[in-house]
């Protein structure tokens, strides 16, 4: 449906949960404290491969305050989740302490529970572990992979077309391991009540988390409750449960006391996922005029010894451009490293770094403007899926709008040719894309006799503004002011809601809420007509209108009717509620046969001082086509934040594995560099704001990830433009820049 210009849908709306956060009242998982709560600290392996031969807990157990030391010998039964069960996705196949084999550095080998955190920490350090060491494979490079590659997408004859192409690019692009570093550390606070358990978790998916924990702990689903009221961000690292949650749950059950287990920053680097290293071979063939003839994208990403984690770098490649001959393949060599996990824009972000870098190199090989190259090869249909139409694709407009805002036409393509304030400028650009899916979910909407309106859904706000946009939808549907709307999320006992991943919450839940609101209004109308003592008593249903919280006859002023609170009062009801549902895109006949994606364009400027090899990203123009934007303030915040993360990906972030031990040796925020405020460029975010008719009510697709896609490729292109140095292995470092032939302005 379309919204009027003065609708709250599309209006920048401050966070309804903002005051809770700024006053410290918002309760994050580790903020939960319970009477008698004990503290757990884990012991991590100090080798990357081998077998535990001796685990001596005697000293630890005798230390003050120590209540319990759990390990392979005494954890008791824990279960794996059913393979292929999409409702219960775990991070690691293996359950904690399942065997005595160590497969990566830092793997939990024991957990110590004590009265205080300090006692548990001290005792954890006193657990003595001996190992039979085995050769570990933590080799950084994946190029020794000899195994089979899975075909992801395939059309035409790439070999022939590439051979025949007059202009070619044939390069490999590398992205390093990057570690999720939300400021809030993972934590589990677990409390049992008989055979029922409540877990206060740092989760991006409370429903899935509950399903996993029920299976892992061997409990009926209804005996498990998972709560995540607020999340200090996750970036994907908190999508699925990690072993510490089950460890805390077992400890709490054995002790019959609440237990808190919180990760340290150091453990964040070894126990709770990371974006794996990718090595991506790109072959592009084109005519002399720049028409693509062949596109090959072969990617490798490392996975752990037991988990089959496919980063999916070929996600965007098959449909982004029009090209008759294409092949995308992928494979996952194993390493003695922890299980990888989705990180913001998984697949597409590293994948587009490679593809878009290839496109930028092709433009250079063609002596063609990289913007024109993209426009020339823009796809009209999804060529990877029988030429089905795109639901709403405005990549061309993203590119053209971005170019205009950035001033791209002033670009002088010669390397090192552009200047500003005694510095050299480099300009680069890239296209971006991200999938769109509507997930099934349920929400209930409830009108209360106290005049408040409430929506409940078992999804969660991971810091992105979910609470607020839900309230916006209810306000839009009912006119009830935002401060009388309660949004209840983050609890698995609520109606089933989606995971906060893949930028899918907005597009998914808004439909259910709108549906729920419509249904609840209908029930109110019925109630009003049926309730004696209201001005609407006896009215025909089709004559009853609902305006700004009031029920009235359609042909009369709203003031003539009654407020819903009065109607509930007259009917002697505390509330009336209704359920709303979202039909997933894959079950909706309207969305079948459409290719659903968001698009974007990134334009980047870097400033380069060759005399001191200093390069900073100074300006980014981002144009995003993500359907209807519900809350432009929150959406711009998401995209700008993603751009800053892109600066980190392009220039700073890399987890380093010590080759002798397999330890992520820079596992702290001093040695693992993320962008600081001072690294934040001038960022200009524009939304095209075209509702996607296939996405349902409002036509929103979600914006959490797309802002990161393409940034790194645009940065490396800008770096090349400024310095002449082509960096094909991220991040761009001073070491690379010192190779520039340009040594002064």
């Amino acid at each position: 449906m379309s919204t009027s210009p003065d609708s709250i849908i599309g209006r920048a709306t401050p966070r309804i949960d903002g005051p809770l956060k700024t006053t410290g009242a918002a309760e994050y998982a580790a903020d939960f404290h319970f009477e008698g709560m004990a503290h757990a600290v884990t012991v991590g392996a100090t080798i990357a491969s081998g077998r535990i031969t001796k685990l001596d807990t005697a000293t630890a157990e005798s230390m003050p305050g120590v209540l319990l030391v759990l390990h392979h010998g005494n954890i008791g039964p824990l279960y794996r989740t059913v393979p292929g069960d999409d409702s219960a996705t775990n991070s690691e196949v293996r359950s904690p302490f399942e065997d005595e084999v160590v497969r990566h550095w830092g793997q939990h080998v024991a957990v110590v529970v004590a009265e205080t955190l300090e006692q548990a920490t001290a005792a954890a350090a006193a657990v003595k572990v001996e190992y039979a060491l085995e050769a570990a494979n933590v080799r950084l490079k994946l190029d020794d992979f000899k195994g089979e590659r899975k075909t992801i997408s395939d059309r035409g004859d790439v070999d022939q077309a590439f051979d025949d192409a007059p202009v070619k690019v044939d390069q490999t692009y590398v992205t390093p391991v990057e570690t999720h570093n939300p400021i809030e550390m993972h934590a589990s606070v677990v409390r049992w009540d008989g055979d029922r358990v409540t877990l206060y978790e740092t989760s991006q998916g409370v429903m899935n988390h509950r399903a996993v924990m029920a299976q892992v702990l061997g409990l009926p689903l209804e005996n498990v409750r998972v709560v995540t009221r607020f999340l200090g961000s996750g970036f994907g690292g908190k999508l699925f449960p990690w072993p510490h949650a089950a460890m805390a749950a077992v400890a709490a059950r054995k002790l019959n006391r609440p237990v808190k287990l919180s990760m340290t920053r150091r453990m964040m680097f070894s126990n709770v996922g990371y974006r794996p290293r990718t090595e991506q071979h790109i072959q592009l063939g084109a005519t002399k005029e720049g028409k693509l003839l062949a596109l090959r994208h072969e990617y490798l990403n490392n996975t752990s010894m037991l988990d089959d984690f496919d980063e999916g770098c070929g996600e965007a490649t098959p449909y982004l451009y029009s090209v008759a001959n294409l092949e995308v393949t992928g494979a996952q060599p194993r390493r003695n490293m922890g299980a990888p996990m989705w990180m913001r824009g998984p697949g597409a972000v590293p994948g587009l770094y490679a593809l878009e870098s290839g496109m930028n190199e092709l433009a250079d090989a063609l002596d063609m403007d990289p913007l024109q190259l993209r426009l020339k090869n823009d796809a009209e249909k999804d060529e990877s899926h029988d030429n089905i139409p795109f639901s709403s694709r405005h990549l061309r407009e993203c590119l053209e709008t971005g170019a205009k805002k950035f001033g791209w036409e002033r670009r002088n393509a010669a390397i090192g040719s552009m200047r500003k304030d005694g510095k050299i400028l480099g300009w680069g650009m890239a296209a971006a894309s991200w999938v769109a899916v509507r997930l099934p979910c349920t929400a209930t909407v409830e009108f209360c006799a106290n005049g408040r309106l409430c929506v409940r859904c078992g999804t969660q706000d991971i810091g992105t503004g979910t609470y607020t946009i839900f309230a916006q939808v209810l306000h839009e549907k009912t006119g009830v002011p935002l401060d009388r709307i309660d949004v209840i999320l983050g609890d698995s006992s609520l109606p089933s809601g989606p995971m906060s991943g893949g930028s899918m919450v907005t597009g998914s839940v808004l439909n259910a809420i709108a549906d729920g609101a419509n249904n609840a209004i209908k029930r109110l109308q019925q109630l009003a007509a049926a309730t004696e003592g209201t001005p609407l008593h006896g009215a025909k249903l089709e004559t009853v209108a609902f305006t700004e919280g009031r029920l009235h006859l359609k042909d009369q002023e709203a003031s003539s009717g009654a407020h819903f609170a009065d109607i509930l009062g007259a009917a002697k009801l505390s509330r009336i509620s209704a359920e709303g549902k979202t039909v997933p895109t894959w079950e909706d006949p309207k969305s079948k046969g459409f290719s659903l994606h968001s698009y974007g364009a990134q334009f980047v400027e870097v400033e380069w001082e060759p005399e001191i090899a200093k390069l900073r990203v100074s300006r980014v123009v981002t144009v995003i086509d993500a359907g209807k934007i519900i809350n432009p303030a929150a959406a711009a915040n998401q995209v700008a934040g993603a751009v800053v993360m892109g600066v980190g990906m392009g220039m700073l972030e890399e987890t380093r594995y010590e080759q002798r031990t397999g330890q992520p040796i820079n596992g702290n925020l001093a040695d693992y560099l993320v962008a600081t405020c001072a690294d934040t460029p001038d960022i200009d975010v524009t939304f095209l704001d075209y509702p996607d008719p296939i996405m349902g009510e409002y036509g929103a697709r979600g914006v959490g990830e797309i802002g990161l896609a393409g940034v790194a490729a645009a940065i490396t292109a800008a770096v090349h433009h400024a310095t002449g140095v082509r960096v094909r292995e991220l991040p761009v470092r001073i070491e690379h820049l010192l190779e520039s032939k340009i040594v002064s302005v």
Binding site: M63, I612, A670, L738
Partner: protein, 329 residues
């Protein structure tokens, strides 16, 4: 658990009377970190925050006396420092973050320890842990063959290549500061160049302080008339990172010739690295790019890269050249 005795010293005398094995705690921004990492295990902490060492005063000789407890922020924004010792203010403000600088003290900054990732590993120097000769003499040096991008290229030995991380100290080296101390054996004055030690065969001995000796002041000489001073720090990100290379210069140009030059480097040395070689290459020469490059070459002449930090040699040279250019402009 590491237990320790905590006492708050009301006077310098009381502070000096502390038991052996105790450490002074000032801002705590280095020490508390290292205690959490099990690198430092003092039996006691003597809190020196009450000591009357928190003032910046002009000395009769026209120099400046900085109390050991003067916070990095206060020192950086001190009007006298900004006017006459700009290099010091700039160096301080390039370090850490505002919150840390508000806590960090002059004495603590002098004595901050290396950021070598192996040194900071809790188990370094223990059997099964990474070798670290600073932590346990004779246990080896894991950084030699490891993650050593941040490590030193000057003043290293085959026992240790850990960088001295301070920015403030680089400026003080160029300013030819002197350090005043008071210990069980009385007061003494230590020239800045003699305060920090290169690792040699004894990387665990980092400075000239005797056990229980307290830094009371850092004295700066009278500002050199007509000189200009500059600090430049190069690093991967724009803020909140230790130097990959930095340079402090105090220089005076007259008639196009360099009449006074003090050059010190950070991020590249095992101690705050004063370069007499660079200074010699500058004295009396024309203040131009060629001279600066000669000086930079001289400064890094003895540089010894290890694996990943090879780039620092060229980076440090460029840093020296640029700083000289700024200081003589």
């Amino acid at each position: 658990m590491q237990t320790f005795q905590y006492t708050k010293a009301a006077s310098i005398d009381k502070a000096l009377g502390a038991a052996s094995g105790a450490k002074f705690i000032a801002g705590g921004t280095t020490l508390v970190d290292l205690m959490k990492l099990s690198v430092e295990k003092p039996s006691g902490l003597v809190d020196i925050n009450l000591l009357p060492l928190d003032k910046v005063e002009t000395l009769p000789n026209g120099g400046l006396r900085i109390g050991a407890m003067v916070r990095n922020s206060d020192l950086a924004w001190n009007a006298e420092v900004q006017k006459n010792y700009a290099v010091l203010s700039q160096a301080l403000l390039s370090g850490a973050s505002p919150q840390l600088r508000n806590m960090a003290t002059t004495g603590g900054n002098l004595l901050q320890r290396t950021r070598c990732v192996y040194f900071r590993e809790p188990s370094a120097g223990t059997p099964g842990g990474y070798g670290c000769n600073k932590r346990t003499p004779g246990s080896g040096c894991a950084a030699m063959e490891g993650f050593n991008r941040m490590h030193a290229v000057l003043g290293t030995s085959d026992k240790c290549i850990a960088t001295h991380p301070s920015d403030m100290c680089v400026a003080m080296a160029a300013l030819e500061a002197t350090i005043q101390t008071e210990g069980p054996k009385g007061k003494r004055t230590i020239a800045f160049a003699d305060f920090h030690k290169v690792p040699g065969d004894t990387p665990h001995l980092e400075n000239a302080l005797e056990p229980g000796e307290l830094v009371t002041y850092v004295d700066l000489p009278k500002p050199v008339e007509g000189a200009k001073s500059v600090y430049l720090k190069l690093r991967d990100r724009a803020s909140y990172e230790f130097a990959l290379a930095s340079c402090a210069v105090v220089a005076k140009v007259e008639g196009g010739r360099i009449r006074y030059a003090r050059v010190a480097m950070g991020g590249v040395g095992t101690k705050p690295w004063r370069s007499h070689e660079a200074e010699a290459a500058l004295m009396g020469k024309a203040a131009n790019a060629e001279t600066f490059r000669h000086a930079a070459e001289a400064a890094l002449k003895d540089a010894k890269p290890h694996g990943e930090n090879a780039f620092k040699v060229e980076l440090a040279k460029r840093c020296v050249v640029r700083t000289l250019k700024m200081a003589t402009a």
